[in-house]
Symmetry: C2
């Protein structure tokens, strides 16, 4: 691991706790055991760290959903696969995911708009899946925008509690989420 990657890693860990504004270069330096100015031998700016992680994760999510929607499956299958991908991406680097979820609003104007664009595209592709499910007769006739946002919010909650040291693997979490989202809490006896 290069020093640059090391810095990024610790920066994300701290950013998860203190938020983007709460993480100062001097705090980051202290954690690294060096002076704040020394950090600039490896990275170009504080904004850069945030930008990189946001663009990086947004791209991963985008690839995942486009891939799923490119292959022929029915909606429940698509949703299952997407949830698995989504959870895997989130769990791969929980600090990065947490920053991605909470700190994107501190991106500079241009990058922020770019980010929102990618996020909307992701939501749009999920709405397509839900719409498909309705047309197939697999899903209830819900409002696709409402359903997509609620679904995404449920999935993203994973970053708030998932511990790699815990009992569940990302695959099991994905399975639980899929069950929750598809069948809900109630037993089938309404």
């Amino acid at each position: 691991m290069t020093r640059k990657e090391e810095i990024r890693l610790i920066a994300l860990k701290l950013m998860k706790f203190h938020g983007f504004s709460g993480l100062t270069m001097r705090l980051l330096a202290k954690e690294l055991g060096i002076e704040a100015a020394s950090i600039y031998n490896h990275i170009s700016s504080k904004d850069d760290i945030l930008e990189q992680v946001c663009v990086d994760l947004a791209t991963k999510f985008q690839s995942a959903v486009l891939e799923v929607n490119d292959i022929y499956f029915n909606a429940p299958e698509k949703l299952n696969i997407l949830i698995k991908h989504h959870v895997n991406i989130l769990c791969e680097d929980l600090n990065a995911s947490s920053v991605f979820m909470h700190e994107w609003r501190y991106l500079k104007e241009e990058k922020r708009l770019e980010f929102i664009g990618k996020r909307n595209l992701y939501e749009q592709e999920i709405r397509k899946i839900i719409q498909l499910g309705i047309e197939e007769g697999h899903f209830n006739e819900v409002d696709t925008k409402f359903a997509a946002i609620t679904l995404l919010s449920a999935l993203n909650s994973v970053v708030e509690w998932y511990k790699p040291s815990g009992e569940l693997s990302p695959e099991q979490v994905a399975q639980n989420l899929a069950q929750f989202v598809l069948t809900g809490l109630s037993k089938q006896k309404l």
Copy 2:
């Protein structure tokens, strides 16, 4: 409306967009058409604004869930009522709710721990409802911690998209959420 309330209102509106750290007293002052220092004739500190809204909303949520769990109902009924209360609280002041959701981590140590305590209590009470539902035979045998967090996350997504000018009333939103959470996306034909 007193000047103090007016300041609080605009502060929350700005905080929703810029985050707690992104809202500076000088920006707030500009929006108010006065000087930054003048704000201190009405409020005691920037932290105070955050504290007030966090404590205020946390208390409301707490009252709601305790009330629901104090009355005798079965779990699906309790959940329905709680969701209605939850959404109503969120929609009452969307700016405040958004700040409550995203900026609580910027509370000072002491108040933050207090906040987390109240939040945990809320989660705990929801787990009780889910546990009750399982024992009654109404709910699937899910992990209550997982279910409570996922449920809460789904509910809280309301602050990200709800517009009072839109078609749906808070009651209708609550109904949609209840359906989503209880029966899921799938039609009952598994």
